[in-house]
């Protein structure tokens, strides 16, 4: 009887498309909102995730997240290096100087100072130039979005200069650094240059990044560093989640997105669920006729579930396709760069849609089960 169930589902094109598109739009809304939320949260740790050389981040015990750091002492680097299991450890500086162009345009920036000798800590993706040119004096690598912000409408070109804390710096590379949470230009330079560009303070070492010896896990090394130095050591993933957690706890972002996602779920569930429920109600007479003919309740339940899961699967697939297209279109826009449809959001939405379909099916099945087959004789 499966073909009968499917033909009943697809027979009335208007109802069928209405049902599938209701589920598709519910899917699209949920995937869209959860993905944007997750990606915005991920942006709070973009510069951490961009550092692919290191697996361990060491910081002052007071430092909770990327944006707000308490400087370490220069001697802390030696202490970390002396911990058994540390393959290497280098300094990383993070500051927020103001960068000005010749024509007076300016922007507060993320300035990241990477190890002078090894250049460890830089993102690997370069659009123009090379990381090696950072060895030149007064040089910076700026991200593409920052470049466009400071030089709007101008083609990407190397050799342009910026003024930073009375220093004239030259752009020697344009990177594809991940977008930070705040839309600020991201600049990389050598550690020794960075502290000059920002002005001397007594201590300026923001982070130490390190890599464990082969065979030693990053998490084991973080425990070891903490035990031996008293400093806070986190793996890259742990530090990312620290940042995400900080923003979740201290900003209104999760509440705002949570409300939007909840509304999307409720509206989507109500629309999709009610559409399917009404679809069954409108077909009650047909189900009554099938009951009278001798179709068992078990078979009718199977037919309704098949209809629900067919519509659910099609709607979910269509909605996911719409969401994927949406993010593909906006992936390369400046403001939304790097925001991709996350499989976790697709899976979460799938669970929600499954729940909606199950609830709608149960309501529909209930109506069919209590249906008196004798009703088919009533006009």
């Amino acid at each position: 009887m499966n073909f009968v169930a499917l033909r009943m589902l697809t027979g009335d094109r208007a109802k069928y498309f209405g049902l599938v598109f209701a589920i598709a739009f519910c899917t699209f809304l949920l995937e869209n909102q959860t993905t944007i939320f997750a990606n915005i949260m991920k942006r709070t740790a973009s510069q951490i995730l961009d550092v692919t050389d290191a697996e361990v981040w060491v910081m002052d015990p007071q430092t909770e997240y990327w944006e707000q750091t308490k400087a370490l002492k220069d001697t802390d680097l030696t202490r970390v290096r002396s911990v058994p299991g540390v393959s290497w450890a280098v300094r990383l500086f993070k500051g927020n100087p103001v960068a000005r162009t010749r024509d007076g345009k300016f922007a507060v920036s993320f300035l990241i100072g990477i190890d002078d000798a090894t250049l460890a800590g830089a993102p690997r993706k370069m659009l123009l130039g090379s990381w090696d040119r950072l060895r030149e004096p007064d040089s910076v690598v700026i991200d593409q979005a920052g470049y466009i912000l400071l030089f709007p409408g101008e083609p990407l070109a190397l050799g342009r200069t910026l003024e930073m804390n009375d220093h004239r710096v030259t752009i020697v590379g344009i990177s594809d650094a991940s977008a930070p949470f705040a839309s600020l230009p991201v600049m990389h330079t050598r550690y020794s240059e960075a502290i000059n560009f920002l002005g001397r303070e007594r201590t300026q070492l923001s982070f130490i990044i390190a890599r464990p010896d082969p065979g030693l896990s990053a998490s084991a090394l973080t425990s070891r560093i903490h035990d031996r130095t008293g400093l806070r050591a986190r793996t890259t993933q742990e530090f990312m989640w620290d940042c995400v957690r900080y923003y979740l706890q201290h900003t209104g972002i999760p509440v705002n997105f949570g409300i939007t996602i909840a509304v999307a779920l409720i509206v989507g569930a109500v629309v999709a669920g009610q559409t399917f429920y009404l679809f069954t109600i409108e077909n009650l007479k047909q189900f009554g006729a099938l009951k009278a003919i001798g179709i068992t309740n078990v078979r009718l339940i199977a037919m309704i579930l098949l209809q629900a899961f067919t519509a659910g699967t099609l709607g979910f697939s269509l909605g996911t396709g719409m969401a994927a297209t949406f993010f593909e279109i906006f992936l390369h826009k400046l403001a939304t760069r790097g925001i991709v449809l996350m499989w976790q959001c697709v899976a979460l939405t799938g669970v929600c849609i499954f729940f909606v379909v199950i609830v709608a099916s149960i309501l529909s099945i209930r109506r069919v089960l209590v249906l008196e087959p004798a009703a088919v004789f009533r006009g």
Partner: protein, 255 residues
């Protein structure tokens, strides 16, 4: 046990009662019905609206439980069957023809007819082949793939007749089969029903208001106020009716 021999009554009701609701809202739909049909006959159940015809055939078809009385359908006491067994009993032994046809609008004529066979486990292709052959016999060979919405009322009822007969049921229950049709179509449908449904070993019950088709009946049970008022066997009229001379009293009673 299903009576396959054709001996004895096809359906036998003794003092069957049915009420709906309770207290002040209690409605006595059947007040002690005695009714019997024979194999190989077309039995009509006639009477004014609200007299209990539909309730009675719903009980006979096992779609509704009676409040009291004895009922034997094809030699089987339906009370001895579980709910699931009753469904299977209906599937194997009953065919239904409804007033509003109740065809599945998304299925073609042939597929609609094939539904009882598919429900019984016949492979879809074979079921549709058998359905197509039966529809061809009933004069719808050129409309096998037509959707119900593209068929006339008479054609839809012919498809419904084919659906009711495709699995060779022992009992066919027809509820107002001509009510939604014009006179000519109604006559054609009844001709078809009489020619194809009536078989030895099968009993056919037709509920109708339509006095113009009474001449097809082998027996007519007249219902009134939840009881069988009388039973006539107008077989002598059949020949006269088919030539256009109908029983005037019956016509006036229920039109």
């Amino acid at each position: 046990m299903v009576n396959f021999t054709g001996d004895g009554p096809g359906v036998s009701c003794r003092n069957v009662r049915k009420h709906f609701g309770s207290g002040d809202a209690r409605v006595e739909a059947l007040r002690g019905v005695d009714f019997e049909t024979r194999f190989g006959e077309l039995s009509f159940l006639v009477g004014p609206s609200g007299c209990g015809k539909t309730t009675l055939i719903s009980i006979i078809a096992g779609l509704l439980d009676r409040t009291a009385g004895e009922l034997s359908v094809l030699g089987t006491n339906l009370d001895t069957l579980s709910a699931n067994e009753r469904v299977l009993f209906r599937r194997r032994n009953l065919g239904f023809i409804f007033q509003q046809f109740n065809l599945l609008p998304a299925l073609t004529a042939a597929e609609n007819v094939a539904v009882p066979l598919i429900a019984a486990g016949t492979p879809r292709r074979r079921a549709v082949e058998r359905a197509s052959a039966l529809l061809a016999q009933l004069g719808l060979g050129s409309r096998l793939n037509a959707l119900p919405s593209t068929l006339s009322g008479g054609q839809q009822q012919r498809v419904a007749i084919a659906r009711a007969l495709i699995h060779e049921p022992r009992l066919v229950v027809c509820d107002e089969p001509t009510a939604a049709l014009d006179h000519a179509s109604g006559e054609a449908v009844m001709d078809l029903l009489a020619a194809n449904a009536v078989r030895p070993g099968r009993t056919v019950i037709v509920v109708t208001h339509d006095a113009r088709v009474f001449h097809y009946a082998d027996s007519i049970a007249h219902m009134d106020d939840g009881r069988i008022a009388n039973v006539t066997r107008p077989s002598r009229l059949r020949g006269q009716s088919r030539s256009g001379d109908r029983e005037p009293l019956l016509q006036e009673s229920y039109v």
